[in-house]
């Protein structure tokens, strides 16, 4: 594990006379924070590049003034946090920040969580020495979720930094404010750094980088999270609540397999309605970045009056005669364990399409590699400097995988290779050394073979692989230009040490899934590349480990948030109501191979699965009493729910739940099937893929998510399609509105699967790509 630091790469530094240990090559500011030493800083964001906008983190290191956010620690370095000169600089900077800052603290949405306010008090600013004429700056909405008030903005550039270095949209930038120039006399009359800071501040303000009034981005709202003042606020939250009124409930986001740490922030809905309502979602933004669904799709709770005894009785009857339980991956580990118990006791069959595909793929991988789980977690991917992605639509499937891919380019001077049949205009903008291959659907094996060819030690390969490695042919098959790529690749490989590969859902839903899993095992065994897998949906990994899933089943079916003869639903449309994820306690297994706890934020008055379990099989008192019984043979630990932590330490260590244990077994050499070029799909192709910010029925239910259910197509393709089309598959057809996704390229269209009622999985069957006919209606 990279989190464990060996003694060799630690150095000792002295801060204000006290000796501390720090990781070699770390910035002074981070080293101080990891050791609980306070250095004031506004503009710096952990995991992003230093912007040097605020300059408040000025310290003295070995007798020289440096900015602690971009100066690295050295062995024996002596650091003084505050000298009289530095204090004078800092005080002048805070005075400058306070110049013309509106005195609306009383109504400001930051309401006491303001860093400007905190540092003004911390540095004891009790009078103002500077002044300049103010510029009129009007508040505006940047998108359906972002609200920006430039009057309150201190241009610390945290929003632009996180958008570029973490999210990868680079949708906002600093632009000219059009204010008066500073009087030259200030230059001689005020501290040097404060003057430089003011000079820049007076000239700039934040604006969408496309030059219009609205941002063209994925609406993740991370800029809102990092804003130290009340300038950037989510549009829905403006002036609705003070921060101090909100109760923070630590939880795990249940929309995708990232399982990000979040806080649901609740308070009574209004004066008339005293039930708790979620007002916003916040996160530990220094250590985790959310996507738009995580931040804005929070109000999907199932509001019901009370216990419906009649429905409950019929549910118990239904379970007694059930042959099949059909469920999806938006489910806790505990509930998955309950369903598995039902299978063992009553012999019902368990159907979960996405988890089943992933389970099968994991098993193939385990058989070939000997490891019970994939190698890397996504924190480790972020620390690599050469990252590759195969078989996942990076922008849509899993935002955190995308953030990792982007962050590697920006922070580690990294390089990237992106293989996907659907063209994407965003991924190539992540860095200068990102090469993307738009290959034919079905040619994923060629991508893996190319990676093996590029990185593997040829002596370790078996003949069945070696004979397939013809680099130039593979590049051509994948739609690249061999000469151009070879030249680019040499550049990409300069000074690279850690290699990572992310693979996704395309490979799990693939005719040649077994061969692909074997190729991944071969790649890991023969090269320095390590692999991380993206579980297809929220808790697919947990379900795949806990449940013994079936492929096909007939008979009386109970659907849990899925279709069935009797429907349990947290969406309010079933035969018996169930609590939604924000009304439940439990644990989720995320793609970082971590079992994380989530808590109930909103009241729920009805029955839950555990009540049914009590009637039809056995059950402990509470749902969370199942937590300690999760299968230890699969890597889970026998720990109580209440002892699971959910937070981060000051040095960024993730202290949430626990990490699944990986076991390894000895395996024999695997034989690889020959890649068959003719299996690539031709003609009109549909891809099962959700739009950004949509993952399931729950994100769809939330009022701040506007991405509709329709056929997503690139602008060029959409023009040829018309406004409404009928898409015909082998298994049936569906009529959809055409929606333009201007970040898509090429002819493949995307059909979302977030509405379970539409049964999209049936249409696509065992593949994510299908040839279809599209007809305008």
């Amino acid at each position: 594990m990279s989190e464990v630091q060996t003694v060799e790469n630690m150095v000792s530094i002295t801060i204000d006379g006290v000796e501390y240990k720090a990781k070699e090559g770390e910035y002074i500011l981070n080293a101080a924070r990891a050791n609980d030493v306070f250095i004031p800083a506004i503009c710096y964001l952990t995991r992003c590049s230093p912007t040097l906008a605020c300059r408040i983190c000025l310290v003295e290191a070995d007798g020289k003034q440096v900015y602690s956010c971009n100066a690295k620690v050295k062995e024996g370095m002596e650091i003084t946090v505050s000298t009289p000169d530095i204090l004078a600089e800092r005080r002048a900077m805070m005075e400058v920040y306070d110049v013309n800052h509106p005195l609306q603290c009383g109504v400001c949405d930051q309401s006491g969580e303001c860093e400007l306010q905190n540092y003004t008090l911390e540095l004891q600013v009790d009078s103002q020495s500077y002044s300049i004429q103010d510029t009129k700056r009007e508040a505006s909405d940047w998108s359906s979720v972002l609200h920006y008030d430039p009057g309150l903005c201190i241009v610390c550039e945290r929003c632009t930094t996180v958008c570029k270095d973490m999210i990868g949209d680079a949708a906002i930038k600093t632009t000219s404010r059009g204010g008066e120039a500073l009087d030259k006399s200030w230059k001689d009359n005020m501290p040097k750094d404060a003057y430089a800071m003011w000079n820049k501040l007076q000239k700039s303000v934040i604006a969408p980088s496309n030059g219009t009034g609205s941002t063209d981005c994925s609406d993740c709202g991370e800029c809102v999270a990092v804003c130290p003042v009340g300038a950037l606020v989510s549009k829905d939250f403006v002036y609705t609540s003070n921060a101090w009124d909100l109760k923070k409930i630590p939880a795990t986001c249940a929309h995708c397999s990232s399982g990000c740490q979040i806080y649901y922030e609740t308070k009574p809905a209004s004066i008339e309605d005293r039930t708790e309502k979620i007002f916003r979602v916040t996160n530990e933004w220094n250590y985790v970045s959310l996507c738009g669904a995580g931040r804005f799709a929070y109000d999907f709770e199932n509001n019901i009056e009370g216990k419906d005894e009649v429905a409950f009785a019929s549910a118990v009857e239904a379970f007694k005669q059930a042959k099949v339980i059909h469920f999806n991956s938006v489910i806790t580990n505990e509930e998955a364990l309950m369903l598995q118990t039902l299978k063992e006791k009553l012999g019902v069959k368990l159907i979960n399409r996405e988890a089943r595909a992933f389970q099968r793929f994991l098993n193939f991988y385990t058989q070939a590699s000997g490891n019970s789980l994939y190698t890397l977690d996504f924190k480790e991917v972020m620390q690599s400097d050469f990252v590759m992605s195969v078989g996942t639509s990076l922008r849509n499937d899993n935002p955190n995988a995308r953030y990792a891919f982007n962050n590697v380019q920006k922070m580690n001077k990294g390089a990237g290779l992106y293989f996907h049949p659907v063209g994407d205009t965003l991924v190539p903008t992540f860095g200068k050394t990102v090469e993307s291959f738009v290959h034919q659907a079905g040619h994923e094996e060629a991508a893996l073979l190319l990676i093996i060819d590029l990185f593997a030690d040829k002596d370790k390969l078996s003949d069945s692989v070696k004979e397939q490695l013809d680099r130039d042919a593979l590049i051509t098959t994948l739609g690249g230009d061999a000469d151009k790529f070879n030249a680019a690749f040499d550049k990409m490989m300069k000074k690279k040490e850690k290699f990572s590969l992310m693979v996704g859902e395309d490979l799990y839903f693939h005719e040649k899934a077994e061969n692909l899993a074997k190729l991944i095992a071969v790649l890991e065994a023969s090269s320095e590349v390590s692999v991380a897998m993206i579980p297809p949906k929220t808790n697919s990994l947990g379900v795949a480990l806990i449940c013994d899933l079936d492929d096909e089943a007939d008979g009386f079916t109970i659907g849990y948030n899925e279709s069935g003869d009797f429907k349990l639903s947290a969406l309010g449309d079933g035969d018996l109501d169930m609590p939604a994820m924000n009304q439940q306690e439990g644990t989720l297994t995320n793609m970082h191979k971590r079992v994380t706890p989530t808590n109930a934020a909103v009241d729920y008055h009805g029955y839950e699965l555990n009540d049914i379990m009590r009637e039809v099989a056995v059950a402990p008192k509470e749902t969370i009493d199942w937590t300690e019984h999760l299968p230890t043979a699969k890597g889970f630990k026998a720990v109580e729910f209440d002892s699971l932590p959910n937070g981060y330490l000051n040095d960024g260590t993730e202290n949430r739940g626990y990490v699944l244990e990986t076991t390894s077994i000895e395996v024999e050499e695997v034989s690889i099937e020959k890649f068959d070029k003719s299996r690539g799909l031709e003609g009109e192709i549909a891809y099962r893929c959700n739009p950004q910010r949509q993952f399931n029925d729950f994100s769809d239910k939330a009022h701040q998510i506007f991405e509709g259910f329709g056929l997503y197509a690139s602008p060029a393709k959409a023009e040829t399609l018309g406004s409404k089309v009928e898409v015909t598959f082998d298994m049936g057809s569906i009529t959809l509105d055409v929606i333009v996704d201007d970040r898509m390229e090429g002819n493949i269209v995307a059909v979302p699967d977030f509405k379970s009622a539409e049964n999209i999985y049936e249409l696509f069957a065992e593949s994510r790509y299908q040839t279809v006919t599209i007809r305008e209606v």
Binding site: G106, S127, Q128, Y130, Q133, A139, Y239, T240, S241, N242
Partner: protein
């Protein structure tokens, strides 16, 4: 603190004035004489005259001393803490409350509640505001913490009513717009001190 003022127990220096009282009669005869003389003195009529005179004053000369409660009320101290008033700005007539929520936060009996929203003029609007007078203990913290002198304690001390809701809403406490000219500036808890101007530092302005 010195304890001088407590240690000074010499109370004999004050200017007491002795009344010129007769000695009480000691013998039986003396007591009989006192009773007879007091009985037949005309002082009874002096008292009756005073009554008659004041009745005349009250009835015919308009010098009534009785307060006609509940039609009349005696003025009370500005520091008295009765049912809250919501004040308006004198110039614009707009309510002073900015919806900062400090009163809601500081309230120790947790009886203040407010809903706010972003209004059409890009301002924070208090869409609803209520005080639960069943729980309010009239401590005055809300008036003291209010940065705008918007919520203050008014002089309305009668809190008997058919429903408490009769005076718990924002509109009930708000100065009626037609009585804006009668609105009194608040002088009680939380009002600015008379020398407030001396205590502030001026911030330089570029224009």
């Amino acid at each position: 603190m010195s304890l001088e003022q407590f240690k000074n127990r010499n109370v004999g220096t004050q200017n007491y004035k002795k009344l010129d009282l007769e000695h009480s009669p000691t013998c039986g005869w003396c007591q009989f004489k006192q009773v007879v003389s007091r009985t037949f003195k005309p002082e009874l009529f002096v008292g009756l005259w005073v009554t008659l005179r004041e009745m005349g004053n009250a009835l015919f000369r308009g010098k009534m001393h009785t307060t006609q409660y509940p039609f009349e009320k005696l003025p009370i101290s500005p520091r008295y803490r009765a049912i809250h008033d919501m004040l308006r700005l004198l110039e614009s007539g707009h309510y002073r409350c900015i919806g900062c929520g400090l009163c809601e936060k500081i309230c120790i009996s947790n009886c203040i509640s407010m809903d706010t929203r972003y209004d059409e003029n890009q301002r924070k609007e208090v869409s609803e505001y209520t005080i639960n007078f069943g729980r309010c203990i009239f401590c005055g913290y809300c008036a003291e913490v209010c940065p705008e002198l918007a919520i203050v304690h008014g002089p309305r001390y009668e809190t008997a009513s058919e429903q408490r809701a009769s005076f718990s809403l924002f509109e009930d406490m708000l100065t009626p717009i037609d009585k804006l000219n009668l609105q009194q500036e608040y002088d009680g808890f939380g009002a600015i001190s008379s020398n407030a101007d001396e205590n502030i530092k001026k911030t330089p302005l570029a224009y």
